[in-house]
Symmetry: C2
Subunit: 532 residues, 2 copies
């Protein structure tokens, strides 16, 4: 077949053409006048490269203007609208597209949609966004991501996403070596988030610990097995236990030291108790770092304990993994090369858009212990040598996005050093903020920060002798008012029973003056609440 | 704090500026000459809205040119390179960015990266891409997706992604009503793919069927429970059973009728046997449609059987769900309003980029039976009325992408009718292709297509009396050569023990002439193989 034979309808049937160009077949802003598209017109318009170019150009311009304003704090951080109002609005916009009888052209329609999406979203690039462990991502990472979306590069088997697979593998190789592992010894995969990462790794550990659990299920296997976890583990650890049939109540919390790190001696004792009672231990789940205050477990000592007890050691390094790339903060993860599995989210401290989470296994064969495979329609038996490169054998997803395009592109543009820079500036500034709060009598940092997470309290003089319950109510109300105002975005946490405000400095544009502004705003919102 | 006080470094420190403009501080193509960026320069360059605009503009231009050529079949469908070669190349590109000492400017670097990504990817928009159940997506959907990526709109709790949550809810409302359900009666959620969707729904069924399984785990619960599934179920069903502790071998296959649909009578009998043996049935998993030949189960009859046996009925409608939007093909899903749960992938027959999978529950309360929640740092106890809108309570992901931006934007641009068009043209053409193959003595369609999936064999005269094993080897080799040539992309499947070639017409630009070209190419590649 000649490759030139095939023509795209809109290019050669101008009458049926619905482009955004000046010859658009839609009347321009002509009030109630409207034109209903035919099926072939709709398909032609939707798949037209020319439309994509023109609308894409507008998108980039609008996004760039938006980013500029957001980075200069000219807009609200969070655009707060009540859920019912937002949902109704999103629905009205869909319904008014019925019959695609617009009284305006596609370009105007597109612009108004983009503007509404931006006006109702969350502005993470505002330096006053100091909230969850979700970064203001490198915008250029999103461009690489968009290439994957628009051309729909996916994985499952190598031939569907040869470059997507290869990009992912090249990153696994490099990040694995930063963990301290030798090529060809370790294995890795990418999945849609840290929660799925913890689930995947703990499932691997379950299958290895419990023999035929995958095929036969977990019933009638003798003593119920347990997972021993950091007392401040992310909720996805207990959730994974609930999912994989261990039971969320079968997650036993290991005691913490005074800095809320897993205490190796308490772990040792707990493992001994389990052993003496013949209770199977599926895994020990440590944290680098735990969510509430960003505490990094002493992995060297924990690994030594686990080795002695022959227990699988998993580490949730979703947030802290990237510190491996910093000469200054690498030490926080000392011992990570001795763990059996770990999770490392690039969409946290590597500043790429969600979701891009890595799971690593010290022993590369373990990657294939998680799932078993039987999909004749997918895996071609005539080329067994390619199976090694089929992501579907080791990931919980079948079809998977090219989730590492953003990370790969960012690394390729700016070098690995950018990630070190981002860790250093955000960790450093958090330490500075901590020291600053120490000097304010109405602020109390609840811990010395190990990374870019800081939990603290603001207790104005009027509340100094108040009950904890009242202080908690005050702080929750203060935060709620503050974020709804759009002036700052911070979160809340309960640390050892005490209500706290909590920041994660996860935007490299956040500077000292923004944190000064935060102190001022917290006091101001506090006064208003006390006066009301 | 004054909102104008804050300046972005690159805008006001020209000496430290690394933009892509003509004043770029990088020498242009000056051979070995190079400049190493400082940390603050790297961060400024990476987060510069101006850089995003200029690189984004280039991305859109390059993508548009690429799409134009691909839609006209001017390039290879699949760009085949051996995995080792691709992986090495992806790694070299990362390594040469070390120190970000480029001998060229950011814009040139960006362009070369984009060009390489496009040159090594898979071109799903080529009308000769007729492969897996992964569409040539609406390119404009990818633009809406990009907005979500670049600004990093995510969910878990409402306040992190108020608009992302609302867009998702507005789509759940509308798609649920297309299933035939009344507002406020059903529930839904969006997850990263159909495999996770099946896992989520079967986990819900497990928790409801087995009482305290979530907390206590599955050990010592008496007779091992089972899942009864369509014999051609997607592998994610058995995999889900392996994950949730039921056991992959505890998935019992329900017999099929002559069109490979689940046989309601055989289901009835199997359920009776389970009942008589006191075996708990977690769920019946039907298909709309099953993967191999796209067979749609008779849901009306299956639902009646399940009701009688009080069994949870789940339907994997990942591929076929979108037929609900077609007046012509709606009937294939008759009875779907009676199921307990279903999965419907928008990233299949609604033609948006991966991944965007819906899970629906007929009873909205079931949405909250899947997981249990304890994440003090996430969920603010002072506003319990917002918990209803926190996606994290019902999705396996914690942080979740704004996975419905592409679908919402496409619907808002072109109306729901576009999805009907896409179903109709692809289903219709598959039927036409089937009829066409009937007239060719060396081609044998293995079934009458119910949708856009067709499995068939090509058996040249020389192989008419060959053993099945030889025909299978021939067809696998033929397909392998065909896809590596870049001329067409099709897949393979084994249907009732017979090796087949298989197409999914999932690009609306595919026309009769491309299918004629496919017949010719298959014969040509077949001859070459027989002669070699």
């Amino acid at each position: 077949m000649s490759r030139r034979l095939l023509f795209l309808v809109p290019l050669h049937e101008p009458q049926a053409c619905c482009t955004v160009s000046s010859e658009s077949c839609f009347p321009h802003g002509a009030g109630p006048a409207s034109v209903e598209m035919t099926p072939s017109q709709r398909i032609a318009a939707a798949f037209s490269p020319d439309n994509m170019r023109q609308l894409g150009g507008r998108l980039i311009d609008l996004l760039s203007e938006h980013l500029q304003a957001v980075e200069l704090s000219e807009k609200s951080v969070l655009n707060w609208n009540e859920p019912q109002e937002n949902i109704a609005r999103a629905g009205v916009i869909l319904d008014e597209a019925a019959g695609s009888t617009f009284s305006t052209d596609l370009a105007s329609r597109f612009e108004s949609l983009i503007e509404e999406m931006l006006a109702r979203g969350h502005n993470l690039h505002d330096p006053r966004y100091i909230g969850h462990q979700v970064p203001a991502p490198v915008p250029i990472a999103g461009l690489f991501d968009a290439l994957g979306s628009i051309t729909n590069q996916v994985m499952a088997i190598y031939e569907m996403g040869p470059w997507a697979t290869s990009v992912e593998r090249s990153l696994i190789e490099r990040l694995g070596s930063r963990i301290g592992w030798k090529p060809d010894k370790f294995g890795g995969l990418v999945t849609h988030g840290g929660s799925l990462g913890n689930l995947t790794a703990l499932l691997t550990a379950r299958n290895i610990a419990l023999g035929d659990a995958w095929e036969a299920g977990l019933t009638s296997n003798g003593k119920p097995p347990v997972i021993l976890a950091h007392a401040d583990s992310h909720y996805s650890v207990a959730r994974a236990a609930g999912i994989i049939g261990i039971g969320s109540a079968q997650v036993l919390k290991v005691g913490l030291d005074e800095r809320r790190r897993m205490d190796p001696q308490k772990l040792d004792e707990l493992l001994s108790v389990m052993h003496s009672r013949n209770v199977p231990v599926v895994a020990v789940s440590a944290a680098s770092c735990a969510t509430p205050i960003g505490a990094f477990d002493p992995l060297d000592q924990i690994a030594e304990v686990c080795r002695r007890h022959e227990a699988w050691l998993h580490v949730d390094a979703a947030h802290g993994g990237a510190a491996l790339l910093s000469r200054k903060y690498h030490h926080l993860l000392s011992g990570i090369d001795q763990v059996d599995s770990l999770v490392w989210d690039a969409h946290k401290m590597m500043f790429v858009p969600a979701l891009c989470a890595f799971v690593f296994y010290r022993n590369r064969d373990h990657r294939l212990e998680t799932f078993q495979q039987d999909a004749g329609y997918l895996f071609d038996p005539s080329v067994p040598e390619l199976a090694e490169f089929d992501s579907g054998t080791s990931t919980i997803e079948c079809t998977k996005r090219a989730a590492t395009y953003g990370l790969w592109g960012t690394w390729a543009m700016f070098g690995e050093e950018l990630f070190e820079d981002l860790v250093d500036v955000t960790f450093d500034l958090t330490r500075e903020f901590h020291d600053r709060l120490l000097g304010e009598p109405d602020f109390e940092p609840l811990h010395e920060p190990q990374c870019n997470i800081l939990a603290f309290r603001h207790v104005p003089p009027e509340l100094r002798d108040a009950a904890e319950e009242d202080i908690a109510r005050f702080l929750l109300a203060l935060r709620r008012e503050l974020i709804r105002s759009g002036e700052f975005y911070i979160v809340q946490a309960k640390i050892a029973g005490r209500q706290a405000l909590r920041v994660t400095i996860i935007n490299p544009l956040t500077k000292t003056e923004h944190l000064e502004g935060l102190i001022e705003a917290i006091r101001r919102f506090g006064r208003t609440i006390l006066q009301s």
